[in-house]
Symmetry: C2
Subunit: 346 residues, 2 copies
């Protein structure tokens, strides 16, 4: 007597399977006495409707998918030294905050959230696998192979967080990276008189590219000396080495403008190890506004993204498209805010 189905419930209640189905999906269409009998029979049997069968028959699942980073490949968060604690990922990072927004909005809209993550970033089958189970998919920029995403986007609405490649058939939710970078550079130059700025970061996603390009354009616009960006690569080692090199060569800029908070925290830590005063001798800025920036010493001047709202917005766009049966609305660009703190000299 395993796994009772509509047939079992129907038999138990002395009705047809159609009535059982109606009893659950459109209770108002069933005579109330019949309804009661069906519900009673169902609970007596411990009936649990099959989501798969329902999804197949309906053609919709009322679930959204999130294809996330492969955590293990991610940096483990602010370095222990920088955060003063021994564990790995102590503070919530950008992706965690965004995911939280997604979870909340899904709950609000009555959708379940299916989280999938492949072991290797460009794994086509993993993303297709989660796509096959949901009515709409959210993915972080540049974690899925574009061809796989294209196939998925042809079937269900897709939203890429942090900017889709230009020309993509699906929209994105991103922030005003250029505006944020401009606010940082303007502040550094206008309020603190900095002129030699060095960028720390690397390309790899539309967001990172936008930040770097904007930084370069600003240097040019303002007639500041162009500088080679410190390529962060993956892991902290390269950044630390680059900082060491600057120190040994005696060539410290007025400020390190970092592409992310995590990088900025590494820079801060590398500088502290060498006893370099921040912001006295060099300023440091971040980008994202994760919690750890408020707890570092000095606190980190950064650009705060509305992370929870990014997630919520993506869900709203998806649900709107799904329920109206249309393509999702065009990409959204959310505003950012400069948060001045100790690391720039304020």
């Amino acid at each position: 007597m395993r796994k009772p189905t509509v047939y079992d419930v129907a038999q138990e209640a002395g009705v047809s399977i159609a009535t059982v189905s109606f009893a659950f999906s459109k209770p108002e269409r069933v005579k109330s006495s019949t309804l009661a009998e069906v519900l009673d029979a169902a609970s007596r049997l411990g009936y649990v409707p099959s989501g798969s069968a329902r999804g197949l028959a309906r053609g919709r699942t009322r679930a959204l998918g999130l294809y996330a980073f492969d955590y293990l490949l991610e940096p483990s968060g602010p370095t222990p030294e920088a955060s003063g604690a021994a564990d790995g990922r102590l503070f919530p990072l950008y992706a965690d905050e965004v995911q939280r927004g997604i979870e909340l909005e899904c709950r609000d809209r009555g959708y379940a959230l299916m989280i999938g993550a492949g072991r290797d970033a460009q794994n086509t089958s993993a993303i297709v696998d989660v796509a096959g189970r949901v009515d709409g998919l959210i993915t972080f920029a540049s974690v899925a192979a574009p061809e796989a995403l294209a196939a998925v986007a042809a079937r269900i609405p897709v939203i890429e967080l942090g900017g889709a490649e230009p020309g993509s058939a699906w929209p994105s939710v991103e922030v005003d990276n250029a505006g944020g970078m401009r606010a940082v550079v303007d502040h550094l130059v206008d309020a603190h008189g900095a002129s030699r700025l060095e960028y720390v970061g690397s390309a790899g996603s539309p967001e990172m590219t936008a930040r770097l390009e904007t930084f370069r354009a600003l240097q040019a616009d303002r007639g500041l000396a162009a500088t080679d960006p410190v390529d962060a690569g993956s892991g902290d080692a390269r950044v630390r080495r680059a900082i060491e090199a600057r120190l040994d060569g005696g060539a410290l800029p007025d400020a390190f403008v970092c592409a992310t908070d995590q990088l900025a925290l590494v820079v801060l830590d590398a500088l502290r190890e060498r006893g370099v005063d921040v912001p006295g001798r060099v300023a440091v800025t971040g980008f994202d506004g994760i919690l750890a920036t408020r707890l570092s010493a000095p606190t980190l001047t950064t650009v705060r993204q509305p992370m929870e709202e990014i997630g919520r917005r993506a869900v709203r766009m998806l649900v709107g498209a799904i329920e109206r049966g249309v393509a999702p609305e065009p990409s959204a660009v959310l505003p950012v805010h400069l948060m001045v703190a100790g690391s720039c000299g304020c």
Copy 2:
């Protein structure tokens, strides 16, 4: 030409649907040239297999479910005053850390995770809804109606985090609440000579009950004066009021032993508002070991639970049961560690 199916792919590749199916599920059983043709046809068409159909036919979904708290009903985290910041849920809480462990282990095991949360805690249909879509379900203690859980547990393996009611047909993953509470009380009494201890917390879940009962038993065993627990209820107001009352009456205990870190942070904050020195005039202890305890002033002495491991263990138990087709192994009890910090006087 919407949503290509196995039939479309089969036609495009000139084979039968069975071959298409095999090409995806058991590639080694298909001649490699045929396999190539099928895969090629599939990608040409942008084929995305239907998870619903697959789940229905296979009888398994390779997804696990997590029925979470309804976040909005939750306290919004350490109070802003206590954490010194303006936002709501700034720090990851117990449930967040556990969820993280679940996500990681699911990813490691190749399972997708389906997250569901009802608007009202005892909502039977919401949990049954997620249960119908997955091969195994994890839920936090006391968030789901026992009858609903029982029905679900009769179909798929279920694990309750934080202790199932005695006599439940499903296992739980919990921690050594008694041992943790004993460590706290022993430390307070033996290392700090405290004798008048007041408990802050309330019942409501097996874990909370275990902590309170142990506290009482310890008071009795050690011949300490029995005290009425401060019933925390929901929200901080009652706790704050209780603290006020103690202060106004001049009757401060030697220590407030709190059932959770969040409560302890509220107590800490209420005491600070009144200028009461902690630990000078009264000690305070928590339970859980969330991040915020390391950042409060003073830092909080607490009992650290292996939160990530709790989540991981639950997933492992579930997957083991699913893949071996047996009932899950019996409940697991994980160890805890006393973390002495500033709030007890150390």
